[in-house]
């Protein structure tokens, strides 16, 4: 209801300001109908839930007591750490020039579009999918994991860093340019000081995320603890599975705490 029509009425009600919009309601109904339909396609039935919960309880019971005694855990975790560190390093090193090229305030449109396309390409595939391809290309082992997570890092750091560069203040760049600085000088004295702190935050976040994913890529044979986990799973050694999962949770939690600490130091 429009404001003009309010003048005719003596009483103003809530409905005058929060008029129900037909389009919005139709959209809600459509979304709801879709969700009901999608839920129906999942094949959920009471019988299935009942059986499933029974299996789940048995499965969880198999987890106890968690087994930490096997010797495979530590080497697996260390390899995951190696993969996470090296892929963060290589990924970030490659992401910096790509992010500079992708920033629309520094580059002509066609260059930034190409670079952005590359970033989107790296971002659109889940690390595990890239890991499958990498395993096929370079064989089993940590190298495939590093390649997969490097891809993910380029996408992630590239996107965030290029956005951070696009948000910087133009004035400092103009000031540096006015002194007759070359392009590299503009980057070094105009751009870097403005994005450095956020950049370190991105690296910390990225390393944390790589650490999570490095425990996962092993499932497809790309090195790390994931392979140990998957093979334990396949031989129904659930006590060992529980031990590995708890170790992964511990590692990820440590990573998260460290990430927060690093961000605080560089605020």
């Amino acid at each position: 209801m429009s404001v003009a029509s309010l003048g005719d009425k003596s009483v103003v009600t809530r409905a005058d300001f929060f008029a129900p919009s037909l389009g919005k309601r139709l959209a809600y109904v459509a979304v709801f109908a879709y969700l009901v339909y999608a839920a129906a396609t999942l094949g959920l039935s009471l019988d299935r839930i009942e059986k499933g919960v029974g299996y789940g309880v048995r499965f969880l019971a198999g987890f106890f007591p968690p087994n930490f005694t096997e010797t495979d855990i530590i080497p697996g975790l260390l390899e995951s750490l190696q993969i996470a560190f090296l892929s963060s390093l290589i990924g970030t090193a490659l992401a910096i020039p790509i992010a500079v090229l992708a920033a629309r305030n520094l580059m002509p449109p066609w260059v930034s579009w190409l670079a952005r396309l590359l970033i989107i390409f790296c971002r659109s595939f889940h690390p595990v999918i890239v890991a499958i391809i990498a395993v096929k290309a370079v064989g089993f082992g940590a190298l495939a994991g590093i390649i997969a997570l490097t891809f993910a890092s380029i996408g992630f750091v590239g996107k965030l860093l290029s956005e951070a560069i696009e948000e910087i203040s133009k004035k400092q760049i103009e000031a540096v340019r006015a002194t007759g600085a070359s392009f590299m000088n503009v980057i070094a004295y105009g751009v870097v000081p403005q994005v450095m702190n956020r950049f370190i935050g991105f690296i910390a976040y990225e390393t944390d995320s790589n650490l999570r994913n490095s425990t996962m890529v092993g499932v497809v044979g790309a090195g790390g603890i994931g392979g140990t986990l998957f093979s334990a799973f396949q031989r129904f050694d659930y006590n060992f599975v529980a031990g590995i999962i708890l170790c992964i949770i511990g590692l990820v939690m440590i990573g998260e705490v460290l990430q927060i600490y690093v961000k605080r130091v560089f605020r």
Partner: protein, 268 residues
Amino acid sequence: MTSATVEMQQWIRFTPLQRLARFAVFIVMAVAIGWALKTIEIIPEFLYDAPEQVVDMGQRMWPVDWAHFWPVVWPALVETMHMSAMATILGLLMGIPVGFLAARNATPFPWVNLIAKFILVATRSISTLIWALFFVAMFGPGPLAGALAIAFHSIGFIGKMFSEGVEEANRGSIEALQAAGATRMQQIIMGYWPQVLPTFWSVALFRWDINVRESAVLGLVGAGGIGMALNAAIDLIQWQRVALILFTIFIVVILIETVVTQIRKRVI
């Protein structure tokens, strides 16, 4: 002020402790990288061979097998979309209550906050693939296991964003409700909820975007969707079909990102 005192005052950007902390971070980074480089086991032949192998694989992916799209890839894609939509809704249903419990202002009991925060961190630390292994064992292979896996994994993210949104909520309206004698539930529904509604939409859309990507891998462990088609094609060494599926995922992810950006611009 005389010139002598000006010379003596020196502006230092960081305190010594801050500099020490920064230095420590850099040292730790360098040591970690050095250790990783020194001890990692990479077979050199594989490394030298890699470019050749990648080129070879690229050649085998061409020409893309477009005929494979309608019979196999399209149904799998539709299943992936259903799966990710259900997972987002379930994740929101489970994550929002935990998010409210984790927020210090909406739930003023420190031990409840602590338990809720632990749930958020724990669900997030277990990757989707591991959740999927678990739910496939429970409900058998299929999209149901996939949807549940993504939903449980996304509790952590959704709950964390939500509790942060709730903690930033304005106290004024909450105090007004308290003064009027509103119960805790009424405070949440009438006071906090309208304030976190923008957070709700942005989290829901953002998570849906992530969930579509995630659901593409779950097929590897039998949890339905386009990942299953991908896995089948890889196992059968049908690289031309692999290329088609990867291309499809790429296009879908770009489309969804565009849609999400457009909705965010208009609604939020």
